[in-house]
C-alpha cells in the first residue's frame, strides 16, 4: 500500500476514478430492500445485544463537563444496572480534553475511550495543530482516535494531501509507544455523491485507516443506510484485494433499535459475518442506546416500556 501512497494527485485520481461507479438509485434501492428484512424473536434478542456492544456512546458538546462524561461512562459500563446480562457498550466517544475524565471513570471496565481529534468537526486547522490535538488525546489515554478528513482538499481533487494527512495522524496515534486505533471520518454529508463516498473510503483505507466512519454528527445528513452499504462494500472489497480488514462506523442519525437492526442486516449481507463484531463495526450514537434498552425490555417482559424507565444522561 505504501507504493500507492507515493502516488501524486493525478495517480490517485486515476486509481480512485477507476473504481466501478455507483448508481445512486440502485444503491438506494438495495439499501431499502435490506431494510425490509424482518428480524424477530431470538434473532432480534441477539441483534439488540450485539448492537449495544457496538455503540460508541457519544457526547460531543461545547457544554460537556467531566461530570457529564463520568455519568456517560457509568451508563456505558452498565447500561441496565438491574440486569446482569446486559452488555457494556464498545466505547465512550468524547472531545480530547475529556479523555482524562473518561479514562478514570472507565478504568478496568473494558470499555474503550474514543477521542475526536484533528480540529473536529470541520478539520479546518493547520496540520501541526491537528497532530498536536491527536498526540494530546493519545497521551491522555485515548484508545481510539476519530479524525476528520479534509473535505475541501478531497472535493478539490487534492487526494494526495488528504492521504498524507491521514498517514500523519496515523503516525501520531503511535506516538510514544501508543497504538491508538484510527477511525477516519469521511463526513459523507459533504461529499455530495456516492461515487465520492466510495473514493473517499478507498483513499482512507489506502492511507492506513483502521476504521472508516461516515460522519461527525454535526452535518446533515449524517449516517444513512445507503452510504453505510457503500462503505461496507468498500471494506469487503479492500480486504479481498489487500488482505487487511477495516472497520465501519456509521455515526449520527441512528436513533432507534429498528434502524440499528437494519444496519446489522446490511453488515451481515454485504461485508459478511466477519464484521458483526464490535472490533469491526460500531454505531456512533447518543440516544440509540436507550431505545435498544427499551426494546430489550419489551422482548424480555412482553410489555412496552417507557422513557421513565431508562436513564437520561
Amino acid at each position: 500500500m505504501t507504493a500507492q501512497l507515493a502516488l501524486d494527485d493525478a495517480g490517485l485520481r486515476r486509481l480512485l476514478h477507476g473504481l466501478a461507479p455507483v448508481d445512486q438509485v440502485g444503491a438506494d434501492a438495495r439499501a431499502a430492500k435490506l431494510g425490509t428484512r424482518s428480524i424477530k424473536t431470538t434473532a432480534k434478542a441477539r441483534a439488540l445485544d450485539l448492537a449495544v456492544r457496538m455503540v460508541d456512546l457519544t457526547t460531543l458538546e461545547g457544554a460537556d463537563t467531566p461530570g457529564k462524561v463520568r455519568a456517560l461512562c457509568a451508563k456505558g459500563i452498565r447500561p441496565e444496572p438491574a440486569q446482569e446480562d446486559c452488555p457494556s457498550v464498545a466505547a465512550i466517544c468524547v472531545y480530547g480534553d475529556m479523555v482524562a475524565a473518561a479514562k478514570e471513570a472507565l478504568a478496568g471496565s473494558g470499555v474503550k475511550i474514543a477521542a475526536v481529534a484533528t480540529a473536529f468537526p470541520s478539520g479546518r486547522a493547520p496540520l501541526a495543530v491537528k497532530l498536536a490535538d491527536t498526540v494530546a488525546a493519545v497521551e491522555a489515554g485515548a484508545d481510539e482516535i476519530d479524525m476528520v478528513i479534509d473535505r475541501g482538499a478531497f472535493l478539490a481533487g487534492r487526494y494526495a494531501a488528504v492521504a498524507e494527512e491521514i498517514a500523519a495522524v496515523k503516525a501520531a496515534c503511535r506516538t510514544g509507544g501508543h497504538d491508538a486505533h484510527l477511525k477516519v471520518i469521511l463526513e459523507t454529508g459533504e461529499l455530495a455523491t456516492y461515487d465520492n463516498v466510495k473514493r473517499a473510503s478507498w483513499l482512507a483505507m489506502l492511507a492506513g485507516a483502521d476504521f472508516i466512519k461516515t460522519s461527525t454528527g454535526k452535518v446533515s445528513p449524517a449516517a444513512t443506510l445507503p452510504v453505510t452499504l457503500l462503505m461496507l462494500e468498500a471494506v469487503r472489497d479492500f480486504r479481498a484485494q489487500t488482505g487487511r480488514q477495516v472497520g465501519v462506523k456509521p455515526a449520527g442519525g441512528i436513533r432507534t433499535a429498528k434502524d440499528a437492526i437494519k444496519y446489522l442486516v446490511t453488515v451481515n449481507e454485504t461485508a459478511g459475518p466477519d464484521w458483526l463484531d464490535p472490533d469491526w463495526f460500531r454505531f456512533g450514537a447518543s440516544s440509540l442506546l436507550n431505545d435498544l434498552l427499551l426494546q430489550r425490555r419489551k422482548l424480555a417482559t412482553g410489555v412496552y416500556s417507557g422513557p421513565d424507565y431508562v436513564t437520561v444522561d
Binding site: G26, R30, R37, K40, K44, R46, E269
Partner: protein, 477 residues
C-alpha cells in the same frame, strides 16, 4: 451466517378467510360451473387451498351474454367520469385489502410475501388508479377525435402475477368502456375471485366484470366465442400463436404479451454493485417466473470473472423457502409441471456442457422448490440460451465489443425486454436504440409502472399494456 441467523418471520395467514369452494363470477353473482370443479394448490406445501368451479363452453356463453348485456345497457352508456369513479373505488378497495390480497397471492402462487406485498398488490392498485383517470379523457389521448369502446373483451391471464395481470387487463378495458370476461390461470384463480368480491363491494354494475375459472379449454372457448370483440392474452408464445391462428379471419382485435429470453448486458465500466443487484433482480425476482426476466447475462469478457464471482457471493445470501416468511427472497415454483420443465432444461444445460452452480441452500421437503442456479460457459447454441426456462436459472455468456453484444442480444426470436449496464451515457443510448425489445432497462431492471408501456417485438407478441399506449388495445380509433 451462524452468528446472525434470522428467525422465521412468517406473515399471518389469518387475514385471509378462504372458503372451501368458489363458483364462477357471472353477472355480478357467484354461481356453480357446469363442468364440475378443480383444486387450487399451495405450491409451497402442496395442500389444497380451495375447490374452484370449472367453466365450460356453456358458462362462457352465459358470461359473454352477461358482459354483452352490461355493455349494451349500462357500461357503454355511462359517462366516462362515472366509469372513472368505479375504477377509483376499486383501486382504493385493493389498497384497503392489500394485506389480504398479498397473503392470498403468496399462498396460491408461491411468490415471496415481500414481493406480493411490495410489488404485485401496490402495482395492481396503481394500475386501476391510473386508468381510472383516463376514463373521461379518452378524446385527449391522441388516438383520434372520437375513440369508441370495442365491446366485450375476452381476457386470459397467466399464473406468474395473477392479480397484477388482472389489473393490466381489466383496468384499461373498463376505462375505455368495454366489459370483460376474464379467465385467470388454472393454478392461481384465488385473487381473481377475491377481486370479484371487490367488484361487488364497489357496486360495479353486474356483468361488467365476469370471471371464469378453468384451464386451457376454458380459455380457448372464450377466445373463440363469436360474442367476443377483443382478445387479450398474456402467456406463452406457443398459446399466443394458437390464439393468433384462432382469431385469423375474424374482426377481433388482439393483443398478445408472450414469452421472452431477455439479454442483460454488463459492460466493464458498469456500476458493478448495482449491476449485480440488477442481475439478481432480473432473474430471481418471482422465482424467474417473469416473461421479461433477464435470463441471458451477457458480460464483457474483461470483467466476466469478477462479475460471476460477485454474483455467486451475492447468491449465497438469497433465502429460499416459505413464501409467507417476510425474509424469503425466492419462494415456491408455481406448479409441479413448471418444476419439471425447469429441471428438464437445466439437465439439458448440463448435458450440453455448461457449468452449473447453485449456492448451498436447504430446500423445504414439501412443495415445489428450485435453488437459484447460474450456468457459466454457455454458448448461443445451447438450449438454456435460447429457450425460455421461466425459472430461477441464469445463463451467462460473454462478449468482447458493443457490436457483438448487440448482435448476440438480438439473436433470438423473442423481443420483450433487455438490460444494459454501463456508465457511459452515449453508449447507453446507442445500445437502447439497437435493442430489438419493447422495454429497455438501462442501469436498472424489472421496473414496472402503470404509466409505462410494456410489450414485445417479434415473437414476444404485439400491442402494449400500460400508459397512454395501453388504451389503444381497447378502443376503436
Amino acid at each position: 451466517m451462524s452468528l446472525f441467523e434470522y428467525a422465521p418471520a412468517p406473515e399471518s395467514r389469518s387475514v385471509v378467510d378462504l372458503k372451501p369452494s368458489y363458483g364462477l363470477f357471472v353477472d355480478g353473482e357467484f354461481a356453480d360451473g357446469s363442468a364440475g370443479t378443480f383444486k387450487s394448490v399451495n405450491p409451497a406445501t402442496e395442500e389444497v387451498l380451495a375447490e374452484v368451479a370449472l367453466a365450460d363452453a356453456a358458462d362462457v356463453d352465459r358470461a359473454v351474454a352477461a358482459a354483452r348485456r352490461a355493455y349494451d345497457e349500462v357500461w357503454s352508456r355511462l359517462p366516462g367520469r362515472e366509469r372513472a369513479k368505479y375504477l377509483f373505488r376499486i383501486a382504493r378497495i385493493i389498497q384497503e385489502r392489500a394485506r389480504e390480497l398479498a397473503v392470498l397471492e403468496s399462498l396460491d402462487n408461491g411468490k415471496p410475501i415481500r414481493e406480493s406485498r411490495d410489488v404485485d398488490i401496490p402495482l395492481a392498485a396503481a394500475h386501476f388508479f391510473y386508468y381510472a383517470g383516463w376514463a373521461d379523457k379518452l378524446p385527449h389521448a391522441n388516438l383520434g377525435p372520437d375513440p369508441k369502446p370495442l365491446g366485450v373483451a375476452g381476457q386470459v391471464i397467466p399464473w406468474n402475477f395473477p392479480l397484477l395481470m388482472l389489473a393490466w387487463k381489466v383496468a384499461p378495458a373498463l376505462a375505455c368502456g368495454n366489459t370483460v370476461v376474464l379467465k385467470p390461470a388454472e393454478t392461481t384463480p384465488l385473487t381473481a375471485l377475491l377481486f370479484a368480491e371487490i367488484c361487488q363491494q364497489a357496486d360495479l354494475p353486474p356483468g361488467v366484470v365476469n370471471i371464469l375459472t378453468g384451464a386451457g379449454a376454458t380459455g380457448a372457448a372464450l377466445v373463440a366465442h363469436p360474442g367476443v370483440d377483443k382478445v387479450a392474452f398474456t402467456g406463452s408464445t406457443e398459446v399466443g400463436r394458437q390464439i393468433a391462428k384462432q382469431v385469423a379471419g375474424t374482426s377481433k382485435k388482439v393483443t398478445l404479451e408472450l414469452g421472452g429470453k431477455a439479454a442483460n448486458l454488463v459492460f466493464d465500466d458498469a456500476p458493478l454493485e448495482q449491476a449485480i443487484e440488477g442481475i439478481v433482480d432480473g432473474i430471481f425476482f418471482n422465482q424467474g417466473h417473469v416473461c421479461c426476466a433477464g435470463s441471458r447475462l451477457l458480460v464483457q469478457e474483461s470483467v466476466a470473472e469478477e462479475v460471476v464471482d460477485r454474483l455467486r457471493e451475492r447468491m449465497r445470501t438469497l433465502r429460499v423457502g416459505d413464501p409467507l416468511d417476510k425474509n424469503t427472497d425466492i419462494g415456491a415454483i408455481n406448479s409441479a409441471e413448471q418444476l419439471a420443465r425447469i429441471r428438464t432444461l437445466t439437465e439439458a444445460g448440463e448435458a450440453e456442457g455448461a457449468t452449473r452452480w447453485s449456492p448451498p441452500c436447504e430446500l423445504p421437503e414439501r412443495g415445489f422448490f428450485f435453488a437459484p442456479t447460474v450456468f457459466t460457459g454457455v454458448s448461443q447454441a445451447h438450449r438454456i440460451a435460447r429457450e425460455e426456462i421461466f425459472g430461477p436459472v441464469l445463463s451467462v455468456l460473454t462478449f468482447r465489443t458493443p457490436a457483438e453484444a448487440v448482435e448476440k442480444a438480438n439473436n433470438t426470436a423473442y423481443g420483450l425486454s433487455a438490460g444494459v449496464w454501463t456508465d457511459k451515457g452515449s453508449r447507453i443510448l446507442w445500445l437502447a436504440q439497437r435493442m430489438r425489445a419493447g422495454v429497455v432497462w438501462a442501469n436498472t431492471f424489472n421496473r414496472f409502472d402503470p404509466t409505462s408501456p410494456f410489450g414485445g417485438y417479434k415473437e414476444s407478441g404485439y400491442g402494449r399494456e400500460g400508459g397512454r399506449h395501453g388504451l389503444e388495445a381497447y378502443l376503436d380509433v
